[in-house]
């Protein structure tokens, strides 16, 4: 069939957007509207499911089917939907608190089941909607409404957790780096299986500039490294720095005195997530933080495929269920 070609504007809902002026969420919404038309999927075949949080208001602003569910549980609704409607394109929109605090368990399980959905995690390292308590991704010592003397928990690294759950697609991008963000959303949509895209998102009201080192054009080149499959790890304003593996450790080196061939080559397709894990753990300021696709492993069965295949298999094996026969099974007797 030939579909009407849609424009970003076609994906705008009638609801007025209610985020704070200057919130990073706006740019993520803009990029989403920009890439959605490219998939050639009609709007009625797309569903956005979110939890609760500022970020989770997202579905209201996209003219597709959508559900603003309950805090932390978006993956569970997505599981029921995608398992019964594999024909739909399902996006889960979540926040760092939504996905990693209250929702950590569902997050882990949907990833390991490899349900064919796309998860976009808005990481602003704070609880926005509830007005500024610390989140699992807040840095140690961070002063927030709920940690006046500084946060004492060791932060969660969303990518490490995802890799620990052996997610098949793991990527990271930045709200302000729109071209890159758009590309990551595309890659996520193309991947069969659960795709996770962590997006550094600025909460300019409760955690302004927390990730400025990565968001600001000027600082980004030195603090962020863009991963590309099969390419050596190079970064820096003058692309003059690289990453190499020495023994079992990664270290930054200057390209002045290190031949490119010594640099680590990124392999997003490596089924063993250990090296990708090593990259995920690179942390500013000691190291540049990786963005791009850390892991994209194909050929792993998806939950929605499997559950439906078993139904088909059962039907072909035993024939479509005959209820009359079933309720007569076992010993029966006739009273006349």
């Amino acid at each position: 069939m030939n579909l009407p070609v849609l424009k970003p504007a076609d994906f705008a809902s009638t609801q007025e957007v209610r985020w704070c002026p200057g919130c990073g969420d706006y740019s993520i919404l803009a990029q989403m509207k920009k890439v959605l038309p490219e998939f050639g999927v009609p709007r009625e075949k797309i569903v956005f499911i979110s939890g609760i949080g500022c970020s989770s208001r997202f579905p209201y602003y996209v003219n597709t089917y959508g559900m603003h569910s309950i805090h932390g549980r978006a993956p569970t609704f997505a599981t029921g939907l995608k398992s019964t409607r594999p024909d739909l394109m399902v996006w889960v929109i979540t926040g760092d608190g939504d996905a990693l605090s209250i929702g950590g368990n569902h997050f882990m399980h949907v990833l390991r089941r490899n349900l064919d959905i796309n998860i976009v995690l808005f990481n602003n390292r704070i609880y926005g909607l509830t007005k500024g308590q610390y989140s699992p991704t807040s840095v140690e010592g961070q002063i927030t409404k709920s940690t006046p003397m500084g946060a004492i928990d060791h932060p969660v690294n969303p990518l490490s957790v995802a890799l620990g759950a052996e997610a098949t697609f793991v990527a990271r991008s930045i709200d302000a780096y729109v071209t890159h963000l758009g590309e990551m959303l595309r890659r996520a949509a193309d991947h069969k299986g659960t795709s996770l895209v962590e997006v550094y998102q600025n909460c300019n009201v409760f955690n302004d500039g927390a990730m400025a080192y990565a968001q600001e054009k000027t600082q980004r080149p030195d603090n962020v490294i863009e991963l590309e499959h099969g390419k050596p790890l190079i970064f820096g304003k003058g692309r003059d720095k690289g990453i190499r593996l020495v023994g079992t450790k990664l270290e930054v080196c200057s390209l002045k005195d290190t031949p490119i061939d010594d640099l680590l080559i990124h392999d997003e397709k490596d089924p063993n997530p250990s090296m990708q894990m090593m990259l995920a753990r690179m942390r500013y300021p000691e190291m540049p933080e990786p963005i791009g696709v850390l892991r994209a492993v194909s050929g792993v069965s998806t939950y929605d495929d499997q559950i439906n295949q078993q139904v088909e298999l059962a039907k072909s094996k035993w024939g479509v269920g005959d209820l009359q026969k079933l309720i007569h099974s076992g010993d029966t007797w006739v009273v006349s």
Binding site: S69, L81, I307
Partner: protein, 624 residues
């Protein structure tokens, strides 16, 4: 049991009786549950009415020989309609001392005690924590007719030809016991022989032969030895004509869901997290994938409930089930279901509470939780099957209400009917009413779609993804009437709260009016709900036999109540509400109808006995 004497072939006396209540108990390893189900089927096939009550230990494999390890199966079979497994035992079969000491209390004076004397030695006494051999106790032999049978030894002798190991040989002894019991109650061995062949012949022909031999040996022991002077005979009961089978509540519930799925043309998505006693429904349904059933064992109950809602959003039928603490975890997602106004069924197979409570025991103490576990004003319809077979019909009913009103429906079963069984007249599926469902399409005229517009039942349209032009967003924030947009408007909130409540309350006019068994008005009305039907019904019957003026109203719809219920309550001098909780239905009735209902309550993890209900009715009946 009435006594009509006659002569059997072997010159032994045969008592014709109207009914027998027997319980067989032994170590969990002794295969008592198998013995029970076999005797049940055989008796049913013989045309008796039957009712059963299996009772197993909480532990997977409780320590051998201990009291905690005793597993029992009680069965009543009769030549007249019966509704319970019986209060007092006419016969008790025990395989070891632990079984004897923990069950003898239920044997009626003069009843038969049949003991496997080989199971009574010092080792077993220690395990059972008894100091002397209870079989030798004088009082025992005064009060009961005691039969000591060396079952283990006799079984070993009977099966030697088939060269099994000692252990294996001994394991056959439950079939020996079975054979003896079959002889005692004039049962045919054939159905069980067939069962043995089907079950073991392939795996191990020798084992099959051995078991059959043991069965035969037990029968012959009764027939030939002097031990038993007489046997009993129970004529066929006169049941409504039709094809029958035995059925337990959980399988009936599963089949009811399958039926509803076919009646409505919707595939079933069953998402749950294992918990006793609800798990068996999952074990059933997951075998029916060829019926289009998708079962999802979620990471927890919250996920299970969420997934069911997700499926419903996609146009499938989501059903989730749990018990005890698992239901509490679903409350938040159920609340979302109230707001989204999507169809779904939440099944609670109730067990002993609170908290982990008594997981393997029955109770009815989650009614108020079903009513009120959600934050805010969030009423939901509640139905409750009254017997194992009724689970089939109430599952269909719950499904019908859910899609008709676009609302989650709660179905309250309990451990007693979930695991208990009764003969069930198999319905003709063509007699079942179809469940009509329609999904809207975009209007030609292209008017904007209103996801929260309502039909005559106040149900909103079930518009599903994939439908062009009907894209819409739902969520847990209060919604504007008709458009479904977020709204903080005070008047709108009031309107939506009222509408969601009316949607449920107006069901009262569409569900069947409440029926009253026995007297339509008079001295006492016994009100009950759920799995206690059999006991309550029997109690009312026997009270009426004795000439008391008693009626029985058994509720299968708990929210809303049938429209005529209040009027019924006012027709009686005394209203007794019998429940296996501390008075939950009673509270709802008092609040709604201002009737001074009195409660008869029992929270012991056990069903009512008919007798305690009869006494309750008599003591509470208005005097003079």
């Amino acid at each position: 049991m009435a006594n009509i004497l006659s002569e059997s072939g072997s010159g032994k006396t045969v008592h014709k009786v109207t009914g027998i209540t027997v319980r067989m108990c032994g170590d969990s390893g002794d295969g008592m549950q198998l013995l029970g189900t076999q005797l049940t089927n055989t008796s049913a096939l013989a045309g008796n009415d039957v009712a059963t009550f299996p009772d197993f230990p909480a532990e997977i494999r409780a320590p051998r020989g201990t009291r905690a390890g005793v597993s029992g199966f009680q069965l009543q079979f009769a030549s007249e309609e019966i509704f319970t497994p019986g209060d007092h035992l006419d016969a008790l079969v025990v395989m070891n001392p632990a079984a004897l000491v923990t069950n003898i209390g239920d044997l009626r004076k003069g009843g038969m005690l049949i003991a496997n004397e080989d199971g009574f030695d010092e080792k077993e006494f220690k395990l059972a924590k008894v100091d002397a051999n209870p079989l030798d106790s004088p009082s025992l032999n005064e009060n009961y007719r005691v039969f000591k049978v060396p079952m283990t030894r006799l079984t070993r002798d009977a099966v030697t030809p088939f060269g099994l190991g000692n252990k294996e040989a001994e394991r056959c002894k439950n079939f020996f016991a079975m054979g003896l019991v079959y002889w005692l109650f004039g049962r045919s061995l054939e159905p069980t022989s067939r069962f043995i062949r089907d079950k073991f012949a392939k795996k191990s022909p020798d084992l099959a032969k051995a078991n059959e031999a043991a069965l035969q040996a037990g029968w012959s022991y009764g027939e030939t030895t002097e031990a038993f002077g007489l046997s009993y005979q129970v004529e066929a009961a006169t049941l409504e004509p039709g094809t029958y089978r035995n059925i337990m509540g959980n399988p009936a519930l599963a089949m009811g869901l399958l039926a509803a799925s076919q009646l409505s043309g919707k595939d079933l998505f069953y998402s749950t997290y294992p918990i006793t006693p609800a798990s068996d429904i999952l074990h059933e349904l997951t075998q029916y994938k060829n019926f289009g059933v998708r079962t999802f064992q979620a990471e927890d109950e919250i996920a299970a409930c969420g997934a069911a809602i997700g499926a419903a959003f996609g146009g499938g039928m989501g059903v989730t089930a749990s018990s005890g603490p698992g239901i509490a975890l679903k409350a938040e997602a159920m609340g979302l279901g109230v707001m989204l106004e999507l169809p779904m069924i939440v099944i609670n197979v109730q067990r002993g509470g609170p908290s982990t409570g008594l997981p393997t025991k029955t109770e009815q103490s989650d009614l108020l939780q079903a009513m009120f576990c959600r934050n805010g004003e969030a009423p939901l319809p509640i139905v409750a099957p009254q017997s194992p077979g009724d689970c089939f019909y109430m599952a269909i009913e719950a499904w019908r209400i859910a899609v008709e009103c676009m609302v989650p429906v709660i179905l309250l079963s309990d451990g007693y009917i979930a695991n208990g069984s009764e003969p069930w007249k198999i319905p003709d599926l063509n007699d079942l009413q179809r469940i009509h469902i329609s999904h809207p399409e975009a209007s030609e005229a292209g008017e904007p779609f209103l996801p929260y517009a309502r039909d005559e039942y106040l149900a909103r349209p079930w518009a599903i993804p994939g439908t062009p032009g009907l894209m819409h967003r739902v969520g847990g924030l209060e919604k504007e009437d008709r458009t479904g947009n977020i709204s903080y408007d005070p008047a709108n909130h009031q309107h939506m709260v009222n509408t969601r409540a009316r949607k449920v309350s107006e069901l009262a006019n569409r569900i069947p009016p409440q029926e009253v068994f026995g007297d339509a008005s008079g001295d006492v009305l016994l009100v009950s709900w759920g799995g206690t039907f059999g006991a309550c019904h029997s109690a009312v019957r026997s009270c009426r036999k004795e000439g008391l003026s008693v009626g029985h109203a058994h509720l299968r719809y708990l929210n809303p109540f049938p429209a005529n219920l209040g009027e019924i309550l006012h027709r009686f001098k005394t209203v007794i509400v019998a429940e296996l909780n501390s008075g939950q239905l009673r509270m709802l009735l008092r609040a709604k109808y201002l009737v001074d209902c009195v409660g008869f309550n029992k929270v012991q993890g056990k069903p009512f006995t008919v007798q305690e209900l009869v006494e309750a009715i008599k003591t509470r009946a208005p005097k003079g």
